[in-house]
């Protein structure tokens, strides 16, 4: 075989003849179940919907749980904590909107995005946390963890309802991103509500819901695919 043959073989018009009966069978199967479908919304619209959803749940959470944590923070700390949480939520919303349509431009593979966001948030919490021994560590953790898991579950389920039409080609990625998004909302509410900035509490009670729901999202998607 010569080099010219290689180029010839790879030309769009060479080979690949489809048997007419096969083409007819495929087309008739598609025609037999032909219904009008509503296409997915564009990425900006989906991102706006996810952002509104996040904002609405965060506002409801603030009304329900209070804002003691926010009141105890200085402005640099508020900017650092809520700026990074907002950036994480926006990145996740954008990645999710892109992941929902096959062939879309991806921000990064879902697992890489999840790892980056989890490590980034852990770094941010470590940067503004205080380091001292706590007397009632587990009592404080229990309360915050249940708040974070509860609000994360509500956010994750709600978001799954919004994103489910796009969880078709790569449900595991959509599951991880949805779970992570719910977890980030849970963590945001805890940062707003809780004024315990000790490192142990921040990591075990505030950061953990994000990690837990990333895993739950992936697992749920993997199970639903079987």
């Amino acid at each position: 075989m010569k080099r010219g043959d290689l180029e010839k073989m790879l030309q769009p018009d060479s080979g690949g003849e489809v048997r007419p009966e096969l083409a007819r069978a495929i087309a008739s199967r598609m025609e037999s179940d032909l219904k009008k479908v509503r296409p997915l919304a564009s990425t900006p619209v989906l991102v706006a919907i996810f952002a509104l959803f996040f904002g609405a749940l965060a506002a409801l959470g603030m009304l329900h749980y209070g804002t003691d944590g926010f009141a105890s923070m200085g402005w640099p700390m508020r900017l650092l904590a809520f700026g990074s949480l907002a950036a994480a939520a926006f990145t996740l919303a954008f990645a999710l909107a892109q992941e929902m349509a096959p062939g879309g431009r991806r921000v990064a593979p879902a697992w890489m995005l999840a790892a980056g966001i989890l490590l980034g948030l852990a770094g941010v919490f470590a940067a503004f946390a205080t380091y001292r021994p706590e007397e009632y560590f587990w009592a404080g953790v229990r309360g915050c963890l249940s708040t974070g898991l509860e609000s994360g579950a509500i956010a994750g389920l709600g978001l799954w309802f919004l994103a489910r039409r796009g969880a078709i080609l790569n449900p595991a990625a959509v599951g991880v991103l949805t779970g992570l998004f719910g977890g980030v909302l849970g963590t945001t509410l805890l940062e707003l509500q809780c004024s315990d900035f000790n490192i142990g509490h921040q990591i075990v009670a505030h950061w953990a819901p994000t990690l837990v729901y990333a895993g739950v999202g992936w697992l749920a998607a993997a199970i639903s695919r079987r």
């Binding site: 075989m1 010569k2 080099r3 043959d5 290689l6 073989m9 790879l10 030309q11 769009p12 018009d13 060479s14 080979g15 690949g16 003849e17 489809v18 048997r19 007419p20 096969l22 083409a23 007819r24 069978a25 495929i26 087309a27 199967r29 598609m30 025609e31 179940d33 032909l34 219904k35 009008k36 479908v37 509503r38 296409p39 997915l40 919304a41 564009s42 929902m100 349509a101 096959p102 062939g103 879309g104 431009r105 991806r106 593979p109 039409r165 796009g166 078709i168 080609l169 790569n170």
Partner: protein, 204 residues
Amino acid sequence: MPSARKSDDLRNRAAGSSELSGMEAAAEPPSDTPEHWMRRYQDADAEAPSVLVAMLSPALLRFFRYNAASREQAEDLLQETWLRVHRMRHSYRSGERLLPWVYAIAHHVRIDSYRRKRRLAEREMAFDPLPDAGAPDASVEALEFQSMLAVLPDAQREVVTMLKATGMTVDEVARATCSTVGAVKLKAHRAYERLRELLTEGSR
């Protein structure tokens, strides 16, 4: 119009449409593009499925054949791809290019088939392979070419066939394979290097 001529015509239209820019596609797509027919398909136009199948199937079949499948396997994968296209047709956003969307689905079909085969292979006993009965129409060059491509790693072979056999751009291939433009360029470069080496060895 005879069916062969009609099919050639549609294929040419599909190849030509890949040269359209994203902006052109974002406006009203011309009536001879796959994007236009995909919109009609979403609107339940009865003519759209057969036109889309005629436009896109030859390149899809070639893509599956070059990725180490016999003709029968390639036809199975082609049918599976169209089944998924039908199920997922709502996820195509009008204004976007169609080829990356279709090939992203084809890419997943191929991966799923590979996983299925691997699972089966783990449970089955190995016998001497039977001759491939599904390739009586293939020329000697085609078979030689397929055996050359078979030397390439899966990911490189997939990129080369998408770039060359379907006429997609590097960016579109990156979208279809859930990868980056840089990674696609690197894979293509390595694949061409390897193919050149094989050709040089073969011509000695």
